[in-house]
């Protein structure tokens, strides 16, 4: 048959060509191209009607008796079973924390007929009767509770709890996860569109989402997957915080069997900071930052208005001493912080470094802080720690390096002594210490014990480091706010083997005198004509619910952390003040 295209052939062909061109442009990324890097989200709950409704439902349930969020949309029999189950004393006790206090959020995830596989020795009677299985989840403890009950008599036959087990989420929570994922800027940017809800499907699960895990936060997490050609975008959603955790592309196929989880996302993203130094710029400041194997976040090549300021700064070690037993037998620990994989770190980062603005009282930006957080997985449970590297850069050329601790520690009375290492820029330095009346030059390596008398009254400066061959003259001003640092100061000749690279362990955890570790590098060597390294070891006592402390508290049915951070570190103030 012959079709005449006279009169319509041209526009038709043109139209087809446009359509084909559009499809070609809209073609999903080729599987052969490298996968985009994963992205960690800010974990901020979106302002969505579904999120607001969820919060309202939680608030209502926590105020009810029992404070358990029931499952809606059940048939008559299942609804009756749910009522019977929620009347059982063992179930009503689920929201009650072991140590007392407000109710924990417990929610019914499912009410279904019990199958043979659900039955145990205690529920064999269900083989001849109609029994139901009710699944409940306690968010604060990540505990799944399974209840087998007789639908006819209403008797609860068995209540079994499984800690650290996450059940399949009900459809309404799956839909909520999809809504949160669709609204996330990270997902929209990755897909270059607002994905329709139908795009988040996964045939393997009835709920339409793939199970995931938030191993570190122990929150309830699922992962809507957006299929895009031969690739899939995992969007891990935290249903406890009601926020996106992060996204990661995978190839569809065998490699996608492995779930993308909170920990895998965090480690993949953060580990990039361990491979190559990352250049950062803010105003007149430039530097490179890199996560080390055991010395936290190190900054190098710091310049101010193009002038070398610092060669290197980092925290090499965290000591903590607890009072226990005889005075000569204290107990404590020695922590290294560093990369989340392949490192000597005991406390690892779970997020990337952030740049936070510093403003004055009138909200005018005056500086920026580079902050890297490190934490144990179960912080703030006792004997889990959280530390931060914090570098503050001010527009006027001042800089401050801070060691931050946010608990929890293993007990009261602990004292944290981080070892800060700072290497000023310059080929050589002269060092002088304030002797109460004037600057007294140091001829060789030595240390200073904490002493208020050795701080210049005008500005609190304790050391003056003047550089030759490039580099500023810096005043070292021990921190006094919120409490005095009480720091030991050490000045040594800069040696590459004495800390340029990772120093996995330095000194002893538990001494209270000058023997904190850097004294081992003091020979003493003459300082004349030599570049120097400044070691700064402040002393930060922990005070319960006041400083160097953190606690979990129940808020709206879930556990959140209340924090009382403590921070210490020296100011480096240029002398004279640089002119812009």
């Amino acid at each position: 048959m012959i079709y005449s295209t006279r009169g319509i052939g041209g526009p038709l062909l043109l139209g087809l060509g446009v359509i084909l061109l559009g499809l070609a442009c809209a073609r999903p990324p080729s599987a052969a191209a490298p996968l985009p890097t994963p992205v960690l989200a800010a974990r901020i709950p979106p302002d969505l009607p579904a999120v607001r409704a969820r919060r309202a439902a939680i608030a209502t349930a926590l105020a009810a008796t029992p404070p358990i969020l029931p499952l809606a949309g059940l048939d008559a029999t299942a609804a009756q079973v749910q009522t019977q189950v929620l009347a059982d004393p063992r179930v009503r006790a689920l929201p009650v924390p072991a140590g007392g206090g407000g109710p924990m959020l417990v929610e019914v995830f499912g009410v279904v007929p019990a199958t043979a596989g659900d039955l145990t020795a205690a529920t064999q009677a269900c083989r001849a009767r109609r029994c139901y299985k009710t699944v409940l989840y306690t968010f604060a403890t990540a505990t799944t509770t399974t209840v087998i009950s007789d639908a006819e008599s209403g008797a609860v036959l068995e209540v079994a709890t499984l800690p650290d087990v996450q059940p399949d989420v009900p459809p309404h929570l799956a839909a909520l996860a999809v809504a949160i994922a669709r609204a996330a800027p990270e997902v929209q940017e990755a897909l270059q569109m607002v994905p329709p809800a139908e795009m988040a499907t996964m045939a393997a699960t009835k709920a339409g989402v793939t199970s995931s895990r938030c191993e570190r936060s122990r929150h309830l997490c699922v992962a809507p997957i957006f299929r895009w050609g031969e690739r899939a975008l995992w969007a891990v959603v935290d249903l406890t915080d009601l926020a996106l955790v992060g996204i990661q592309w995978t190839d569809v196929g065998a490699t996608s069997r492995r779930r993308v989880t909170e920990a895998s996302l965090q480690d993949t993203v953060v580990s990039r900071w361990c491979e190559t130094p990352v250049p950062l710029t803010w105003g007149p400041w430039r530097l490179t930052a890199m996560l080390t194997g055991s010395d936290g976040l190190a900054i190098t090549e710091v310049t101010y208005h193009g002038r070398p300021w610092l060669r290197q700064a980092k925290i090499t070690d965290w000591h903590v001493r607890y009072p226990a037993g005889p005075p000569d037998q204290a107990v404590g620990f020695q922590d290294a912080v560093g990369c989340p994989t392949f490192s000597a770190a005991a406390v690892i980062p779970v997020s990337e470094p952030v740049l936070a603005p510093i403003t004055d009282a009138s909200a005018t930006p005056i500086g920026v802080a580079l902050v890297q957080d490190f934490r144990n997985e179960h912080w703030p449970i006792p004997c889990n720690y959280r530390y931060q590297n914090r570098y503050e850069f001010y527009a006027d050329g001042r800089m401050r390096m801070l060691a931050v601790n946010i608990g929890r520690g293993c007990g009261r009375g602990g004292v944290y002594r981080p070892i800060l290492r700072l290497v000023p820029a310059g080929a050589a330095h002269t060092v002088a210490a304030w002797d109460g009346a004037a600057w007294a030059r140091w001829p060789d390596e030595r240390w200073l014990e904490p002493s208020a008398a050795r701080r210049r009254a005008a500005d609190g400066a304790q050391l003056r480091i003047a550089a030759t061959g490039g580099g500023p003259t810096l005043l070292v001003v021990p921190g006094q706010e919120p409490r005095p640092d009480d720091a030991f100061l050490y000045v040594t000749v800069t040696r590459s083997a004495e800390g340029d690279g990772d120093l996995p362990a330095l000194g002893d955890c538990c001494r209270e005198d000058v023997r904190q570790g850097p004294e081992t590098f003091i020979d003493p060597e003459p300082l004349a004509g030599q570049p120097i390294t400044l070691w700064y070891v402040p002393q930060m006592p922990s005070v319960e619910r006041a400083a160097c402390w953190a606690e979990s508290v129940l808020r709206d049915g879930i556990l959140v952390a209340d924090e009382w951070p403590c921070a210490a570190g020296p100011w480096l103030v240029p002398e004279p003040p640089p002119t812009p």
Partner: protein, 448 residues
């Protein structure tokens, strides 16, 4: 100390007793007795000769560690029965000997702390103990330079000395401070195996599994390019294999071993731990072969850091029909059968390479004092350190040796802490898993 697989003997008649009067038997009774006798003889022969047992026919594995002996020094320190070797007690660095028959009894030779914190541990037929250093939370007591040295505790003197340094593609470093992570012993060939991850980096897997002659202290063979954690030697229906847990992925693979015990061929994937319920970050820290041929896998989260971690156990059984490993139910708590078994001159060392020594070992065990017991778990119970962390030993019956560091709900621990505000003096709490207790005194200490 051996694991006795053989069926129990019928009791003997007491000496001096008159033999029982034999009643008249009917022919069919004689036939039944004859058949039963024949079956019994065959069974005994089968066991002695090591014919395949049901576990093997079902596709399961059989451990080859029956010959491992109790250290000969143990009775001299008051250990009456079996011993438990622990490298993971939270308040003790190094190796500690525990007595399952005497809760609270612990022994540590002065030399057992010189290698710092320890991890993998195993024994040989003579009762020599082999341990590998493993840093716990800090490198202060475990500098990377010593991470690839195996230490041996002499079965007679209890002295721990360096035994052998496993060759590495690159030395340990602060980016990877780990070395030896797995040790295993093969009774059949008398070989010691060590798994080391020294020198590996995020983008390069250069770890090694080496076969060692413990008598000569020499490396016999090695496989390169494998980062392994727990290792175990097993007899399978198709020959001996070395099973190892990958240190990089949640999986177990295996290597074939030839008659001399040398690894041959490429690794064969065996188990994806995520199929057993593991996280993608969990690794097989220890693999135990149970009497029925199934596997008990102790997993930890391991990312080549010193971050504290909690171990947990998974179980797998072999499904012969599908020729695959599937999640298995957790076995019931095995009956404790600690058999006092003092090594005697008749205790045989394992057969030379290429010969089956298992039968001789079992025969020796049979002679090693005491009445026969039902099949029981190994009497030499090894508790390896959890990488980067420490937890109370899994043997809860020890009780009192180590505090329970299991983490409860976040709220629970904090409530306890709140109540602790009433404690006078504000005593420090026990540390959680992975925390090292540091003891100091005013005297100068040796450099780390």
């Amino acid at each position: 100390m051996t694991m006795d697989h053989r069926p129990p003997r019928p009791p003997r008649a007491p000496r001096g007793a008159a033999p029982p009067r034999r009643p008249a038997r009917r022919p069919w009774v004689l036939l039944i007795c004859g058949v039963g006798l024949a079956v019994g003889i065959v069974a005994v022969l089968a066991t002695i000769l090591g014919l395949p047992d049901p576990a093997r026919r079902a596709g399961g594995l059989r451990a080859v560690t029956a010959c491992r002996g109790t250290p000969q020094f143990a009775p001299g320190y008051g250990f009456r029965g079996g011993v438990i070797l622990s490298t993971s007690l939270p308040q003790r660095m190094g190796l500690v000997l525990l007595d399952p028959a005497q809760p609270g009894k612990a022994f540590q030779h002065p030399s057992w702390t010189q290698a710092g914190h320890l991890g993998a541990v195993t024994t040989d037929a003579a009762g020599n103990i082999y341990v590998g250093p493993a840093p716990r939370v800090s490198l202060a007591t475990n500098p990377p330079a010593g991470a690839t040295t195996i230490w041996r505790v002499d079965t007679r003197t209890a002295e721990m000395t360096p035994f052998l340094t496993v060759p590495a593609a690159a030395p340990p470093s602060p980016r990877n401070p780990f070395g030896i992570l797995g040790l295993a012993y093969d009774c059949d060939t008398g070989s010691l195996y060590a798994a080391s991850v020294a020198g590996s980096a995020p983008a390069s897997e250069v770890g090694r599994i080496v076969q060692i002659d413990p008598d000569a202290g020499a490396v016999l063979s090695q496989v390169e390019g494998i980062d392994a954690l727990g290792i175990v030697i097993a007899a399978t229906p198709t020959g001996k294999r070395l099973y190892y847990g990958s240190a990089r992925e949640p999986r177990i693979a295996s290597l074939a071993l030839d008659a001399t015990g040398a690894p041959r061929g490429a690794p064969r994937p065996e188990i994806d731990l995520t199929d057993l319920g593991a996280d993608i970050q969990e690794r097989a820290r220890r693999i135990d072969i149970l009497p029925d041929g199934s596997l008990q896998v102790t997993v930890i989260r391991f990312r080549f850091t010193l971050e504290p971690t909690q171990p947990r156990q998974l179980h797998a059984r072999y499904e012969a029909a599908g020729q695959r490993w599937v999640p298995g139910p957790a076995p019931a708590a095995p009956a404790r059968s600690i058999r006092p078994c003092r090594p005697t001159p008749s205790v045989r060392r394992p057969g030379r390479r290429g010969r089956r020594g298992g039968a001789a070992d079992r025969a020796a065990a049979w002679r090693c004092g005491g009445a026969p017991r039902p099949r029981a778990p190994p009497q030499l119970l090894v508790v390896a350190v959890r990488m980067g962390g420490a937890a109370a030993p899994r043997l809860r019956r020890i009780g009192g040796i180590a505090p329970d560091h299991r983490r409860g709900a976040r709220g629970e621990r904090d409530r306890s802490s709140a109540r602790a505000g009433g404690r006078p003096g504000g005593a420090a709490r026990q540390p959680g898993p992975g925390r090292r207790w540091g003891w100091t005194d005013p005297r100068p200490r040796r450099p780390a």
